[in-house]
C-alpha cells in the first residue's frame, strides 16, 4: 500500500438522478467522457510516481440522490404464477429467476426453502411444492428464446 499523493480530484459528486425512462443525450456523452478520462488520470498519477503533495486532502462531499429503475416484469402465466408474483417479488425482481439455467424441481425447492429459512420469505409451507413445480415449468432457456 502506498501513501496517498493527495492527487484525488475534488470529489464533487454528480448524481445522475435518472428515472426509469430514456437517458438524456447529454448524460450519455458525459459518461463516455468519464470512461475515457478516468483511466487516463489514474495512469498519469501512477506515472508521476505518487509524488507527495503538500496540499491538504480536499475531498468535497456533496449530497447524492439517485433514482433506481423499477422492474415491471411479472412472472409468465401458468399454474403458480400468482404465488411467484405474490411472494418472490416482495424482496427481488423477477429477472434473476427468469435468467436461471434449467433447474430441477428439487433444486427450485431448495431455493424456495433458502428464501424461507434464511431470509424470512412468507411462503406458506403448503405452497412450496406448487411454486417449485411452476418455477421448473418456466425454466430458463425452455420458453424464452427461439
Amino acid at each position: 500500500m502506498t501513501k496517498s499523493s493527495g492527487m484525488i480530484l475534488d470529489g464533487e459528486c454528480r448524481p445522475e438522478g435518472r428515472g426509469t425512462g430514456t437517458v438524456p443525450r447529454n448524460t450519455t456523452s458525459r459518461n463516455v467522457a468519464l470512461v475515457r478520462a478516468v483511466p487516463m488520470l489514474v495512469g498519469l498519477a501512477l506515472a508521476a510516481g505518487l509524488a507527495r503533495s503538500q496540499a491538504a486532502d480536499s475531498q468535497k462531499w456533496a449530497k447524492v440522490t439517485v433514482d433506481l429503475p423499477v422492474s415491471r416484469t411479472a412472472f409468465p402465466p401458468g399454474n403458480g404464477a400468482d404465488i411467484a408474483n405474490g411472494q418472490c417479488l416482495i424482496c427481488h425482481s423477477a429477472g434473476m429467476v427468469l435468467r436461471q439455467p434449467p433447474l430441477t424441481e428439487a433444486e427450485w425447492t431448495a431455493e424456495i426453502n433458502k428464501m424461507r429459512t434464511a431470509f424470512g420469505a412468507p411462503v406458506p409451507a403448503d405452497q412450496i411444492a406448487a411454486l417449485a413445480k411452476y418455477l421448473q415449468s418456466i425454466n430458463g432457456g425452455q420458453q424464452q428464446h427461439d
Binding site: P39, A62, C91, H92, P101, F119
Partner: protein
C-alpha cells in the same frame, strides 16, 4: 431448448438484437417486453444467457442486466480491453438486499466503531478524511460467484459471465488506524462490518461480514472513500466501502457505517452460514458429494483472460498480430502469464505490462502468427508469486464460487 455450455471467456456469439429483437419474448416478459425490444440484447455463451444492455442505472453506463432489484449489473467484457483500471461507470454492481438508500447526505453520515473497544467512536466523513493518514491501493474486486454461468453442471445463483469483477485505484484510510482510534480491547476475536442497506422484511438478516481481528488490523484492509479518483458511485457503496485486498468481494462491505469489534465468534447468517466453500483445493468437489467440511470463502485465486480476441474469431494465417488480456494473482501478485496457441501442448511466456501493485489487474500481451489454416485453440494461464497456478480443469461446487480454470478461445485461421 438447450445449447451446449461453452467454457470460453468472451461474450461469444454476441448478438445485438436492437429493436428487431425481442420478438417471442412478449409472452414471458409481459409488461417489460416493449422495453426489452427497445434495448440492445447480448447473448452470454451459456444456456439462457440473453441479457439486456441496461443504461438506466444511476451513475452507470451500459451494463449487462442480471437483476433490477436489488441491482446485479455485470461489466461488459470489452471494457477490460481498455486498460487495467475499470471505469467507475462500468464497474459491476452486486447488492443482496433491496432497501438501498437512494439519498446519502454526507453531512449527516457517521461511521460508528463500537463493541469490544475502549471507547465507541462516531466519525464524520470529514474527520475520516482529515484525521487519518490517506492510503491508496490498486486492487481487484471480484464477486465470489464471478463466472458462475460457466459452471457445468449449472448451479443456481447470479448467472454471471466473467464480468463480475473490476480493478480500481482505491483511496481511503487503514481500518487498523480507525480501530486504534477506538482502542481494541484484549480478547477481541473478529471485526464485524455492516452497511446502510437492509432487507425488505424485518426478519431478513442485515448484510454483515466479519474478518479475524489480525486480518482487520493488517494495515492493508482499508476504508475507501474514493475510487479511481472520484467518490464511489452510490451503487458501488458511496460514501464508504471496505477494501479487503486479495479477498473476494463479499467482504468489501458497501455503504459501510458500522464497525463492531467482537469478543465472540460472529454467528450472523452472512458470516456463519452464507458464502461457504468446500475446504478443498480450488473449493472443488464432485457434484453430489456429501460430508465435505465447509469454511467461509476467503482468498482469491489467480486468473487470466483474453480481452482482444473472442471465441470464434477469424485470423489471417501467417499474419503477425498481438493477443492481449489481463491477469491477476488473487491474494498475491502475478508472477508470470503463459500463453499457448497449441491447445496447451507448448507454452510461451507473455510480456507483462506495468505493475500497479500485487492486488491489481496486470495487462499481458504476446505476438501471435498462426502457421496453418484451420482451427486453433488459444489458452492463457496465470501463476502468482506464491506459486498458485490456474488449473487445467474447472472446479465445481454447489454455490458456483471461485472459478479460475485456464481460459481458452477457439479461433480460425484462414
Amino acid at each position: 431448448m438447450r445449447r451446449s455450455t461453452s467454457l470460453t471467456s468472451s461474450l461469444s456469439r454476441r448478438r445485438f438484437l436492437a429493436r428487431a429483437g425481442g420478438i417471442g419474448m412478449t409472452g414471458l416478459l409481459g409488461a417489460s417486453a416493449w422495453e426489452a425490444m427497445a434495448a440492445a440484447l447480448v447473448e452470454l455463451p451459456f444456456v439462457n444467457g440473453q441479457r439486456e444492455l441496461a443504461t438506466s442505472f444511476p451513475q452507470k453506463g451500459a451494463m449487462l442486466l442480471q437483476r433490477t432489484r436489488p441491482p446485479l449489473l455485470e461489466t461488459p467484457f470489452e471494457v477490460f480491453d481498455r486498460g487495467v483500471f475499470t471505469p467507475n461507470d462500468r464497474f459491476y454492481v452486486r447488492w443482496h438486499l433491496a432497501n438501498i438508500p437512494t439519498s446519502i447526505d454526507p453531512a449527516a453520515f457517521r461511521l460508528n466503531i463500537r463493541g469490544h473497544v475502549q471507547q465507541s467512536v462516531s466519525l464524520t466523513l470529514d474527520e475520516l478524511v482529515r484525521e487519518f493518514e490517506p492510503v491508496e491501493m490498486a486492487a481487484v474486486n471480484q464477486c465470489s460467484g464471478n463466472s458462475r454461468g460457466f459452471f457445468s453442471p449449472r448451479v443456481a445463483g447470479g448467472q454471471w459471465a466473467n464480468g463480475a469483477m473490476g480493478n480500481a485505484l482505491w483511496k481511503g484510510v487503514r481500518l487498523k488506524d480507525v480501530l486504534d482510534r477506538a482502542g481494541v480491547k484484549p480478547g477481541a476475536l473478529q471485526v464485524r462490518l455492516g452497511g446502510l442497506d437492509t432487507g425488505i422484511l424485518p426478519q431478513t438478516p442485515n448484510f454483515m461480514k466479519s474478518l479475524a481481528i489480525d486480518h482487520a488490523r493488517d494495515g492493508e484492509v482499508m476504508i475507501a472513500y474514493a475510487m479511481n479518483g472520484e467518490p464511489l458511485p452510490l451503487l458501488n457503496g458511496f460514501p464508504l466501502r471496505l477494501v479487503v485486498p486479495g479477498w473476494y468481494a463479499t467482504y468489501w462491505v458497501k455503504m459501510l457505517d458500522n464497525i463492531e469489534v467482537l469478543d465472540q465468534p460472529d454467528d450472523n447468517f452472512w458470516t456463519a452460514k452464507a458464502y461457504l466453500i468446500p475446504d478443498t483445493p480450488f473449493a472443488n468437489v464432485v457434484p453430489g458429494q456429501k460430508g465435505v467440511k465447509m469454511v467461509p470463502i476467503n482468498r482469491m485465486v489467480p486468473r487470466s483472460f483474453f480481452t482482444n480476441v473472442q471465441d470464434g474469431a477469424v485470423l489471417k494465417v501467417g499474419h503477425a498480430t498481438t493477443v492481449r488480456g489481463i491477469a491477476f494473482g488473487g491474494d498475491n501478485g502475478v508472477a508470470k502469464v503463459m500463453f499457448s496457441s497449441e491447445a496447451g501442448d507448448r507454452w510461451q511466456e507473455a510480456r507483462l505490462g506495468p505493475d500497479h501493485g500485487k492486488y491489481s489487474f496486470r495487462q499481458w500481451e504476446v505476438p501471435l502468427r498462426l502457421p496453418s489454416k484451420g482451427p486453433h485453440k488459444l489458452r492463457i494461464r496465470a501463476t502468482n508469486t506464491a506459486g498458485s497456478t490456474q488449473p487445467d480443469h474447472a472446479n465445481w461446487n454447489g454455490a458456483g464460487f471461485m472459478r479460475n480454470v485456464i481460459e481458452s478461445v477457439s479461433v480460425q485461421a484462414v
